[in-house]
């Protein structure tokens, strides 16, 4: 429902069609949604957060606290949009929020009647009782209080990131910003000018008269090489003059190829010409529809050609609002009175001016404003009015200055904080630096505190601030959190100063002594998509494909993500479960032969006269005594003595070694090796080449593996822990005889782009002997029953070599990273978590289960890996158990409450299968 059109005569035609709560209206190109609604006589646009009070439009810019609407539909639904910050396009769909069944008749107003219950901090004092009751109350509280509803579909918009570099970044295109940008550009600086609005000019748009000067200045800036970005908000200032700016290419709810662009601007100098935000006055019912900020009324009249009311009362404590009276009269409205809180105004005026006000109260409701009641000089007066323009002074927009950790100085003449010292190369100019109307002292509350709103968006009244003070919440940080003022989506843009004034009043201090909370980015709410940029939709992480991806894909495996890699987990036959497939594959390896892709393992070629010495710094085992063509298992410690990674090392030549280690630790190992070489031992003559992606690797394992290899290579296979080279299917390969599966095995490495024919030859040979490819799941079954550790499982960064049973392999001479830390007493504590094997009496042990005594609850360890025995299917596991090395034979319970599993287990030796390694030793 709308009132009469409030459009001032003349101007362009209203050609843009839009809807609000289902009703159709028309707007002029250039209108914000707020301007268009006012032009159509729509004054009720929202219901407040807590009390569901009727609200209208208060401001003309992003500081708007009341008029939050949902714009757009489906995947482009954008809730909590300020109606003042969206420009109407043809077909725009907007809806009110937080009102049911509708704006006019909202059941939530019942909460307004119970307002005393919902004062600040109510949730600490009400709804007491057992926790179960709270879960009941919570459902209703959530539904009653609220902002908009988020969309349920994935974001259909596209976002981009861009970097820019400039000598001078000017934020704001008002008179100060335009002048600064022009001067800098004409002095030969690379200039970037960012303006939040769709149109440049800032305050000139409401008070500047002829706008030709704006167009001329912009043209001059661009002619001198400057770049001008409109509809671009400087959102945050970061270290070393990095400024993030959000550019809107389309309006919320609109569709287009690109919605927003996030700029990362690195500037040599930042000029903040961000202007000042007008303050409301604190009086009774200052939140009614029809009560607006005075400069906003001027913006609507002069920029948008809309007069939000016919009979206006102006309430002010400064000179600026007198200009609003003139603008209203120009537009054909009636200025009923100017109510000035000061004793005597300093501006001569043709209007009815009432001075020395002590009490103001707005009268009205969901149908708009009906009048204003005043007490001035002891006398009560009533004014009939449908528009109240208020001005409580101006707050310089110091947010960007504060993001950069700039200090603020207090100026008593304007009762405001202005930018002070900063370590950033940043200057504030114009209104942002304090060029605003003078104030006559601290603004007071002009009405009953319970009905006088301070933070409009979070429904915080002056009485709430008094209540917080009374209850002992006296620091500004406590006040903020207890009352939630300044914590709404507007970050207190129109409420901070009034709150501080009241806090200072209660404390009997000046405002600067009361303190100020910290401004943080973003300056206005921004959508997560803008931060994700091109990384949305799964594009943020690269997909690393193994070289033999196509060969595996043809076999339809179950893929396992491992960091950015994908490796085959199993190759189930039709109808097979994962467990069935894994058992089948593992049995094939134990009884015949199998191949598994091991390409993702970290691999480093370490060469040079001191290669062995470098490896002995990183590895805690022997390396230097390896003969050419020989290798061994090895592990690496962190500086604090914990096992960090494990793998194998092979001597391929006089001064040429290959080090392999875990897939997941590859990046860490590369950094670790570089650190060891460059920082700890730079005198060593060795070079390290990361060959992880260069080599594809295939492990051939099983009792028939040697036969397969010798067939394909027409030469003898290397002995256990030996290395050899030769061709398979014409491709040169490196063969390393090492076993992770527990059977005789050979790791075969070829250059990735040549490896296809190698896989083909191996697969054919393996299948011909009733074998098959196997995946990570089968590999787990194989290594668990051998008691082999894995990085990320048993090697979890908290276990030493002794805890893992590997201490016999460590070099007695020391000299490796971590050696100096091994003597500390905590590493010898008897109750350390130590690696053990577990056998289930009945049932399946769950991975991750806690180990507790049979009749107790104390957690003494956990299961790191669980599997079925490949021959019998019995449930076995590896676990870390307090003092485990001394507890063989004990009975415990492996308990997993989240999976409802309690399984009795025996503590046994680690090696369930072939403890002596007879399957692969020569």
């Amino acid at each position: 429902m709308s009132g009469a059109s409030r459009r001032i005569g003349g101007g362009a035609a209203d050609t843009l069609r839009f809807t609000f709560d289902g009703a159709t209206y028309f707007a002029r190109p250039g209108d914000t949604l707020a301007a268009a609604l006012l032009a159509n006589g729509v004054t009720l646009v929202a219901r407040s957060f807590k009390y569901h009070r009727p609200r209208g439009i208060m401001a003309a810019g992003v500081e708007e606290p009341n008029a939050l609407v949902t714009v757009g539909t489906g995947a482009r639904t954008t809730p909590n949009t300020r109606a003042t910050d969206v420009f109407v396009y043809d077909g725009l769909v907007a809806r009110s929020q937080n009102a049911w069944p509708g704006l006019r008749f909202d059941l939530g107003t019942v909460l307004g009647l119970a307002a005393p219950v919902f004062a600040s901090g109510f949730y600490y004092k009400t709804f007491l009782g057992p926790p179960s009751l709270w879960m009941f109350y919570e459902k209703f509280i959530r539904r009653a209080a609220g902002l908009g509803k988020p969309p349920t579909l994935a974001d259909a918009d596209r976002y981009e990131h861009r970097a820019a570099f400039c000598d001078v970044l000017v934020v704001g295109s008002g008179p100060a910003g335009l002048a600064a940008a022009k001067a800098a550009a004409e002095a030969g600086k690379r200039v970037l000018l960012a303006e939040q609005d769709a149109v440049l000019g800032g305050s000139l748009l409401r008070d500047g008269g002829d706008l030709a000067v704006v167009a001329e200045t912009v043209a001059a800036i661009e002619a001198a090489g400057g770049r001008v970005l409109a509809r671009t908000t400087a959102s945050g200032v970061w270290d070393h003059a990095l400024v993030t700016c959000v550019e809107h290419l389309i309006e919320p709810g609109q569709s287009g190829p690109l919605a927003q662009r996030l700029w990362h601007v690195r500037a040599r100098r930042i000029v903040a010409a961000t202007g000042a935000i007008e303050r409301p006055l604190t009086f009774a019912n200052n939140d009614r529809p029809g009560v607006m900020l005075s400069q906003a009324v001027r913006s609507y009249a002069r920029r948008f050609g809309v007069l939000p009311g016919q009979r206006a009362v102006i309430v002010t404590n400064n000179d600026d609002a007198y200009r609003t009276a003139e603008a209203i009269a120009e537009a054909g409205g009636t200025v009923v009175a100017i109510l000035d809180t000061r004793g005597a105004p300093s501006v001569p005026s043709a209007f009815n001016v009432v001075t020395g006000m002590t009490d103001v109260s707005a009268r009205g409701g969901k149908h708009g404003l009906s009048g204003v009641d005043v007490v001035a000089g002891g006398r009560a007066q009533r004014f009939k009015a449908d528009l109240l323009a208020m001005s409580g002074g101006f707050t310089p927009a110091v947010h960007l200055h504060s993001h950069g950790a700039g200090k603020l100085d207090w100026r008593a003449d304007i009762q405001a904080f202005v930018p002070g010292e900063t370590l950033q190369p940043m200057t504030s100019i114009g209104a942002a630096a304090g060029a605003v109307a003078a104030l006559d002292g601290v603004p007071a509350t002009l009405g009953k505190p319970k009905a006088s709103f301070v933070d409009f968006q979070n429904d915080v009244t002056a009485a709430d601030i008094d209540l917080a003070w009374q209850e002992g919440y006296r620091s500004v940080e406590h006040l903020k959190r207890y009352t939630t003022l300044g914590m709404a989506t507007d970050q207190g843009k129109t409420s901070n100063m009034a709150a501080l004034a009241r806090l200072a009043g209660a404390a009997g201090a000046r405002i600067p002594e009361a303190g100020l909370t910290t401004f943080r980015p973003p300056y206005v709410p921004l959508t997560l998509g803008a931060l994700a940029g091109p990384d949305g939709g799964g594009h943020g992480a690269p997909t690393r494909r193994i070289a033999l991806y196509d060969r595996h894909a043809a076999l339809n495996p179950l893929w396992q993500p491992l960091g950015y890699w994908h490796r085959p987990r199993a190759y189930p036959a039709p109808g097979e479960t994962l467990a069935q497939a894994a058992l089948r594959e593992a049995r094939a390896v134990r009884n015949a032969v199998g191949i598994v892709d091991v390409s993702t393992l970290a691999k480093f070629m370490v060469t040079g006269p001191d290669a062995a010495a470098l490896l002995e710094i990183v590895c805690a085992t022997g390396v230097a005594k390896l003969g050419i063509g020989r290798g061994r298992y090895t592990f690496m410690l962190r500086e604090d003595g914990m096992v960090m990674d494990d793998g194998t090392v092979w001597r391929l030549g006089e001064h040429r070694y290959l080090l392999t280690s875990s897939t997941g630790g590859a990046q860490r190992m590369e950094a670790h090796l570089a650190y060891a070489q460059r920082v700890l031992a730079p005198q060593l003559r060795a070079s390290i080449v990361d060959t992880q992606e260069h080599f594809a690797g295939i492990a051939l394992a099983g009792p028939l593996a040697r036969a397969v290899l010798e067939d394909l290579m027409a030469s003898a296979a290397p002995a256990h822990m030996g290395a050899s080279e030769g061709p398979i299917a014409g491709v040169p390969v490196l063969v390393l005889a090492a076993s992770y599966s527990g059977e005789r095995a050979f790791e075969i490495y070829a250059a990735g782009h040549d490896a296809g024919p190698v896989w083909d030859a191996l697969e054919a040979a393996v299948r011909a002997r009733a074998g098959c490819p196997y995946g990570l799941e089968a590999l787990e079954f194989l290594r668990i029953e051998k008691g082999y550790v894995v990085v990320g499982g048993e090697v979890d960064g908290r276990t030493t070599a002794h805890d893992l049973g590997l201490e016999k392999m460590m070099r007695k001479a020391g000299g490796y990273i971590g050696a100096s830390a091994l003597e500390r007493p905590t590493l010898a504590a008897p109750d350390r978590l130590q690696l053990v094997g577990l056998e289930a009496e009945r049932g399946d042990i769950a991975e991750g289960a806690m180990l507790v005594p049979i009749d107790g609850e104390r957690v003494e360890g956990h299961v790191t890996a669980a599997a079925m025995r490949i021959d019998t299917g019995a449930s076995i596991a590896l676990a870390l158990l307090a003092g485990g090395r001394m507890r063989a034979g004990e009975r415990l319970v492996a308990s997993s409450p989240t999976r409802g599993k309690q399984v009795r287990v025996h503590v046994v030796a680690l090696h369930f299968y072939d403890p002596q390694g007879l399957r692969y030793r020569d």
Partner: protein, 84 residues
């Protein structure tokens, strides 16, 4: 996001670099156990300037020493790491 002037590559964004540790957290290979524990767990952590080891992993991959003020993030000096 810091801007770091790599001596080899010029000014680059922090995302190109990996922070390693403060210089006083380097545990020499021949450190006695006491000295190792001090370096690992009892660092000075001043509320002011400190020397840090960084690596330009996405650029020249060299180790650098930054003198950085740990509160203001001002970077006072950058030099290539050289063994002492």
């Amino acid at each position: 996001m810091l801007l770091i002037a790599c001596p080899h590559c010029g000014s680059r964004a922090q995302t190109e670099f990996d922070y390693a540790r403060t210089l006083d957290a380097i545990v020499p290979l021949d450190a006695a156990p006491e000295a190792a524990m001090t370096a690992l767990y009892a660092r000075t952590n001043p509320r002011g300037e400190d020397d840090e080891l960084w690596r330009h992993s996405q650029g020249c991959r060299q180790f650098l020493v930054l003198r950085r003020h740990r509160v203001t993030h001002a970077i006072l000096a950058v030099r290539a790491w050289e063994a002492m």
